[in-house]
Symmetry: C2
Subunit: 87 residues, 2 copies
DNA sequence: TGAAATTTACTGCTCTAACAGTAAAAATAC
DNA sequence: GTATTTTTACTGTTAGAGCAGTAAATTTCA
């Protein structure tokens, strides 16, 4: 699953699946997420140029969690908390 | 970590952290990812309107994995494979 | 089957993301 | 300390995302 396009398409399918199970229409989800109906359609269709705020707004409504993990995630997490306690 | 803005800001910090550890400048990363230098800057700054293809291209270079998980992810996975074996 | 609801696929319009270029600010190296 | 690199923060331009409206295609359901 390296290909970016495939990830986005799969993500769209995941959104649609959750929306259907939730019994929502695209328009209803769009209204809830505060985006246009075309945007929901684009996301489900796997359009790669949607903006992350639109995507994340939709994901939040569907309770779909996003997790990013790099090879240095653990190190970053420690560094991150150290940063916030700096003066 | 519910707030979308916070997630995006944190993501930008994660990218910057990985980039620094990799010893790359923003321009080098931008060239590798095939995006403009401003886009890398925007991502690291936590701009919420970057497009997912730009973001994912950068994440791929940094070997940062993206995982989406909703309450129905397991069900979706089964449904997904069932779909692909349909005629 | 046929009617209603939903999705798909267009439309034009507006707004802005992406971009390279540049310059100032900050960080790093010497 | 100064010079160099890098980052930050602007610019104007261009391409296209977002959007509501609409209509056709599809699905749902009685």
């Amino acid at each position: 699953m390296a290909n970016i396009t495939q990830v986005i398409v799969k993500l769209g399918e995941l959104v649609r699946f959750h929306r259907n199970k939730a019994g929502l229409t695209q328009i209803q989800l769009a209204d809830l997420a505060g985006v246009g109906k075309s945007t929901v359609y684009d996301i489900e269709k796997g359009k790669s140029t949607v903006q992350i705020n639109s995507l994340f707004a939709v994901l939040a409504i569907m309770n779909i969690d996003v997790k990013f993990s790099g090879p240095l995630s653990a190190v970053f997490e420690k560094w991150s908390v150290a940063q916030s306690s700096d003066k």
